[in-house]
Symmetry: C2
């Protein structure tokens, strides 16, 4: 038997990423779960951001962003960057995160994240409480530490985080079920 419920954002499981945006004058980090690969060619990622967030103005001003995929050991930073505002604190300093230059965009990458995806904003779509920034992937970077002996990405080594808005819980990944 199933129970019916009123509309809500209940899709699970979701990624939990740190999006960095800014330039040498200042950069911010925002934790987002409203994020997905949305197009394969050209590769594009969409992120949903509320207009009242500090990063929203930076996204509009800079025109690019980096999607940084954190490991489990960055969970504290994921929570801080999702609950504090960049208007009142420097999130890089507060979370002991290190900005490093991107190769194709102005916004910095986060050194401590094993995977960084550089995106240039193509369009911004107003949806309601959130606006959707659709960015083209211009480059991505992966840390040697999360590669296997053949030089391929190793999901186990990445120790990925999922966010489950249905219950407001972060969960780790478990085991490899299928696929090459």
């Amino acid at each position: 038997m199933k129970q019916e419920h009123k509309p809500a954002t209940v899709l699970v499981p979701c990624p939990a990423v740190l999006v960095s945006v800014g330039n040498e004058m200042g950069a911010n980090i925002i934790t987002l779960s409203w994020v997905a690969n949305v197009c394969s060619k050209p590769p594009q990622i969409a992120i949903g951001v509320r207009p009242n967030r500090h990063s929203f103005g930076l996204l509009e001003q800079i025109g690019d962003f980096v999607v940084n995929v954190p490991s489990e050991d960055l969970l504290e930073a994921v929570i801080t960057c999702g609950t504090k505002s960049g208007r009142s604190i420097d999130k890089f300093a507060t979370c002991n995160l290190t900005p490093e230059p991107s190769s194709k965009v102005t916004s910095p990458r986060i050194k401590e994240c094993p995977l960084n995806i550089e995106c240039k904003t193509l369009q911004v779509i107003e949806l309601g409480a959130h606006h959707l920034f659709v960015g083209e992937v211009l480059a991505w970077h992966i840390d040697d530490k999360v590669l296997d002996e053949d030089g391929e990405p190793d999901i186990a080594k990445m120790r990925l985080i999922t966010y489950n808005p249905l219950v407001g819980q972060y969960w780790s990944l478990g085991t490899h079920l299928r696929g090459r």
Copy 2:
């Protein structure tokens, strides 16, 4: 040290859902990973679909869809519905899945999935290889079997699947890290 790579859809981890679309004349199921909650109010989900897919025409024609979240025991159906075309097989029959009526949309829900999210298409955005269908969530349904003793959703009982396009692998969820 990090290695730089050329543009690709490498965001991980991603959901893997079964999207059902159709009416009593016929319905199809498509496995999608290009999917996210994208707006909280009104609640909206976006799905990226290629125009050459059988479900694409149905999505345009019907104007609504259901995002069905599968459990691990439906992994075989997830793979079949992502690799076979509804032009040549009846995916409900082939995968032993049961259509059940939705309460707010025309497209059927999939009975065997513990979570069904009914969506009405608000807009379709052309991105390139994929078009993005943005749907407003009109209702969602959850199976009693995946509720805990307080009647709240229990992520462990849902046995969720993630897809990791970086390596083409399905992974299960692991352990509860944080959150209420």
